[in-house]
């Protein structure tokens, strides 16, 4: 696969880092729970990307296996997380993350 090899590893890592930073920023600065949730997914996938890139670079399959694990966990997490979000919305009529703070004190 000469074409793929032409792209150096560092590019993938940079893309991964950018995506991860975007995820972190979204998580920190957005108020909508769903957006925050999507930011988490973005972070996970950024990490997935670097796993796959390393896996390809090092010619080892471990990273790809890890990726599958992350995807499985992410799917489960999405199911649970969306269910929580639905319940929160039903009970509170809001999706603003700042208003869901009843555990305080």
């Amino acid at each position: 696969m000469p074409q793929l090899n032409a792209v150096p590893l560092s590019w993938y890592l940079m893309l991964s880092a950018i995506l991860f930073t975007l995820g972190v920023a979204g998580f920190l600065f957005r108020r909508n729970i769903i957006t925050v949730f999507m930011s988490i997914e973005l972070m996970l996938n950024a990490v997935n990307l670097s796993f796959v890139a390393f896996s390809h670079h090092l010619r080892q399959v471990d990273g790809q296996i890890f990726t599958f694990f992350v995807m499985v966990v992410a799917a489960a997490e999405a199911a649970v997380g969306l269910a929580i979000i639905l319940t929160v919305f039903k009970n509170r009529r809001t999706l603003s993350i700042d208003e869901v703070s009843s555990l305080k004190n």
Partner: protein, 621 residues
Amino acid sequence: MPNQPDLQLWLILFFPLLGALINGTIGRRLSKGVIGTIAIGSVALSFLWVARALSELGQLDSPHIERYFNWITSGDLKIGFDLSIDRLSSIMLLVVTGVGTLIHVYAVGYMDHEEGFWRFFSYLNLFMFFMLILVLAQNFLLLFVGWEGVGLCSYLLIGFYFLEKFAGDAAKKAFIVNRIGDFGFSLAMLLIVVHFGSLDMTEVFEAARKMPIEASGGVLTTVALLLVVGACGKSAQVPLYVWLPDAMAGPTPVSALIHAATMVTAGVYVVARSSEVFLKAPIAMEVVAVIGLITAVVAALIGTAQNDIKKVFAYSTVSQLGYMFVALGVGAFSAGIFHVVTHAFFKALLFLGAGSVIHALHGEQDLSKMGGLKSKIPITYGTLMIGAVAIAGVWPFAGFHSKDAILLAAHAHAPWMYWVGVFTAGLTAFYVFRAIFLCFFGEYRGKAHPHESPAIMYMPLVILALLSVAGGYLPVMDWLAPLYPAHEEAHDLTLIMISVAFAFGGIFMAYFVYVLNPGSADGYAKSLGGIYRAIAGKFYVDEAYDVAIVHPIEHGSRSVLMNGVEEVVVEGGVNATVAVSRSVGGALRFLQAGNIRSYALYVLLGAVIFLGVMAAGGGIR
């Protein structure tokens, strides 16, 4: 071991255990008939298995040992789950399972109206299991398991009527007093391990046999004395006898089985089993003899002034156990075991008979409310009379043979012991017949309507009565002879005549006081004054223990342990822990803002700091 038949000795233990488990777990849902069948059946099966094993073993010139598995291995010390039968344990096995079966049969009738029928038989079978472990054990630790187990069952059964406070108190008393003895026993075991490196009886006794006689004390003497402490607890000897009379709070079959025929003879059994150790420790032997003698006299004296029919027989048991100790102490081990056997017959008979009287009178135990029952409950009367004659030591009944073997041996050892023993024999005859006369002769003084017990209760009585008549002709002493060094049997007819004369004297005195001149007893008691008061007050032993031991412990627990240790140290420590965690938590609470994004920020900052430090340190290599 070659040519030894495989007898599956464990089955002897297994039957009663199975019975106890079945009755203990699902007994609540079974009918009384089924529970009784299981209880009697399991003990009867183990009796039959003992009989089968003994018939296979024949002469038993060497012990038959079965080793099942290694129980404890620690360094060089190996303790196995090993069972054995020798000539001594064969006798105990027959007595325990045989008399046990009879008492189980009787108990089915006796307990018929009681609550907790299944619980009772579950405990009783469990007791049989532990007692058989005790008898069959080939090493001291396994014996100790049985020893503690029978103590536990004794506790459970004394406290069977646990709704009554006195029953619970009596149970606790028995358990705690026994604990003192058990402490001595466990110290003895530790000493044996340290000194002999083994707990296997064959090995220990083999080693003890090779050691010299310790004229002025030594390790064997210490071991023997510690074993005596244990035996004193279990076999109710002075100064630890106080629990046994109170133990009569339990149902009467329990008194007969545990507190007369079997468990209380465990101490005698252990001493007889360890004869190799005791023979090397003359000091310990002397101690055993003197303890036995004191116990025999003191208990017999107290027995003369008791008004509860079961208490009379309880003190009589203590006194007879004293006789057995005298036998052991003067080296007549086989005579001691012989007395264990005959005593099991006639004392079980006396207790079951007393139970039959109590049953007839709907729970009345006070002798002063009985009287004139001779014609109303004739079978009970006849069998109880046989038991009384047997314990008094009248020829040719069972008690005569074993008691005279003991008295002759005591005379050969030290004549004064013989005279004290003979005096006690007279007292024994007196107080037992006092109870019989008060119960069956004269006018009926109670209110209940007496009725004869059902066949399931009087059949065991009849069998035990036959055994009490003929038990003296069982060749127990010849059977045991090879185990113990020969004991010169001075068959002195004069000495025998004297002891029988004392027995008749006691019987006649009781007859004179309680039948010919009823009501005269109070006058005699008054003329004795302080002596009588001391006897009726049981020599104030319980009160003395209260003042000397119970109160200091209670007071110390209250003032030092409760007000000091508990309130200051324990509660103070707990409160300090609470205060610390509360203040730390209070400080940490400010981090918990409840704002998810601030948590995320902490995570991010943490990650950044972590990576920064790593990078500054040169990264991961």
